[in-house]
Symmetry: C2
């Protein structure tokens, strides 16, 4: 899967993943009104407006980007109708040829992790029938329970050409509370210890670019740590949140890429899906504002990577 | 909420939580056949059999136990129909007067954690309508992202009388891979550091028994660590998985309780919901086997606690 993701990043010359994290206040009134007219002010109505919105975003920019990352929490808070919208969003994005990263951050003991693996990247068996369920291409996972919580995903990953990103150094301001704790004789921060494990876990899953299907989440909000991790995890691809609304600039995250300008995919959610509301794109249609935001981000990243290369 | 849980444990004289983690192979044939006849071998059919099964378990034992803990992964792998069964299970168990612990192990950055908080213990607002969604009484959370991933649950917890258990020392054999790493100058295991944070985070949420609404998950499979944590976290209530199928005995987990015999609730899943298939309960009906398994566990825990008290 990592090869497919990198192929697509290179083909579109754009290491951007759009975070499909809808909120009611980000959705144009006419989309909401239509949904609420049909379903009332219900969870169904909200979920319907999410789906209309996501499809409009995908229709606007899927030729420009390699991947999308729907954050399942945004859907889960709208219950069963929300999760139906999540599932349909995944399906629609895949139909558009995009790699879909399900931002689920699941984690549990082995027998339970197996159920998450089945539900998100595997297939569920009922009698002699077999059903893909949420069926994202890649998922995010949390490492607190160790390899036992990750391993159950491996057979499904291999069999169905899927991938994962494991939380390493997250983008939130207080992520260091646990992740920066200094560990062992070497006094390495926990995120480095976790990073090295991720690199090792991915060893059997390396593809043609040298990167593995077992990636790491490395927040753009920590430039130095990103640069360090890039050096010590040469075969680990990074999913980089934190650009834009969370405060990180393109320069901050340039260190997450290697000398060839690959090695990371950068997420933006509000910066893209909320572009139509931004004063910066005033006067543009929903479609044009969204496209322009993607093009601006692409250019911003390209410039920062070019500058980093020249140094 | 912790007061309500402890009140109920004391009233029923039973610190047992039944893990409602259905699997198709644990469900009696007649329940499955009925569901598959109605829905075919579909996700809907499987989910329907889960719900029938859970209701039968709840009908059999809800007078004997204070709480149930549905593991959401078991439902999530059956997609939207599975999650409908989860939601209906929560509703039915609450109707029976039980405290429902949603074993969801969610975690994310603050703005996203807020969405999980809303969906699981809060209410979702659509227009002027407000909907409780999954609406468990308590949830399990993962600490890897720090307090920022926990805090968004606090206002909902307070407003709606809810609670949480944060992963501290999990029951899986390899949980120590991350959790036992020695941290800082004091070379304390990470789970101790996390445990102390949980104790501190819970300080504003203490109830009449001295325990807080911010509990910890402490695996029964680590007796010494449980005993240590009980001592250094005097105000933190423990959710204790690992008894029975995962190998821990009542003696192993006695140290998770304080001298008054409170301080923990012990989970059993397969040992109870799979009792009807066990040779130990051969000849008993589904209902009687389930009840007997609960009564046996209750007796087993009481004896171990009595022995620990005498020492």
């Amino acid at each position: 899967m990592i090869d497919r993701l990198i192929d697509s990043i290179l083909a579109k010359n754009n290491p951007t993943v759009v975070g499909l994290d809808p909120r009611l206040n980000l959705i144009p009134d006419h989309m909401k009104e239509e949904a609420f007219e049909k379903y009332g002010f219900t969870l169904e109505g909200a979920a319907e407006s999410f789906l209309t919105f996501n499809k409009a975003i995908l229709d606007a920019v899927s030729d420009l980007i390699p991947a999308v990352k729907p954050q399942i929490a945004m859907y889960e808070q709208f219950g069963v109708p929300g999760l139906m919208a999540f599932q349909e969003t995944v399906r629609y994005a895949k139909e558009k040829g995009l790699v879909v990263i399900g931002d689920i951050k699941r984690s549990d003991i082995a027998s339970t992790a197996e159920a998450y693996a089945i539900g998100h990247i595997g297939t569920t068996v009922v009698g002699e029938q077999e059903y893909p369920v949420f069926d994202e291409d890649m998922v995010t996972l949390n490492p607190y329970l160790g390899i036992e919580s990750i391993e159950p995903f491996f057979p499904h990953m291999k069999k169905r050409d899927k991938g994962m990103f494991i939380l390493c150094k997250t983008s939130n301001p207080g992520g260091g509370e646990i992740q920066d704790l200094l560990v062992g004789e070497e006094k390495e921060p926990l995120y480095v210890v976790v990073g090295k494990k991720i690199e090792a876990w991915g060893e059997p899953f390396r593809g043609k670019y040298g990167f593995s299907d077992v990636g790491a989440v490395v927040g753009a909000t920590y430039p130095e740590q990103g640069t360090t991790l890039r050096k010590i995890l040469p075969h680990t691809f990074f999913l980089v949140p934190g650009y834009g609304a969370q405060g990180a600039t393109a320069k901050d995250l340039a260190g997450c890429f290697n000398e060839d300008g690959i090695g990371a995919i950068v997420n933006s959610s509000r910066g893209i899906i909320g572009a139509w509301k931004s004063p910066k794109y005033e006067g543009l249609s929903f479609e044009d504002a969204t496209r322009q935001a993607v093009l601006d981000m692409k250019e911003d990243l390209a410039q920062a990577l070019e500058e980093a290369r020249r140094k």
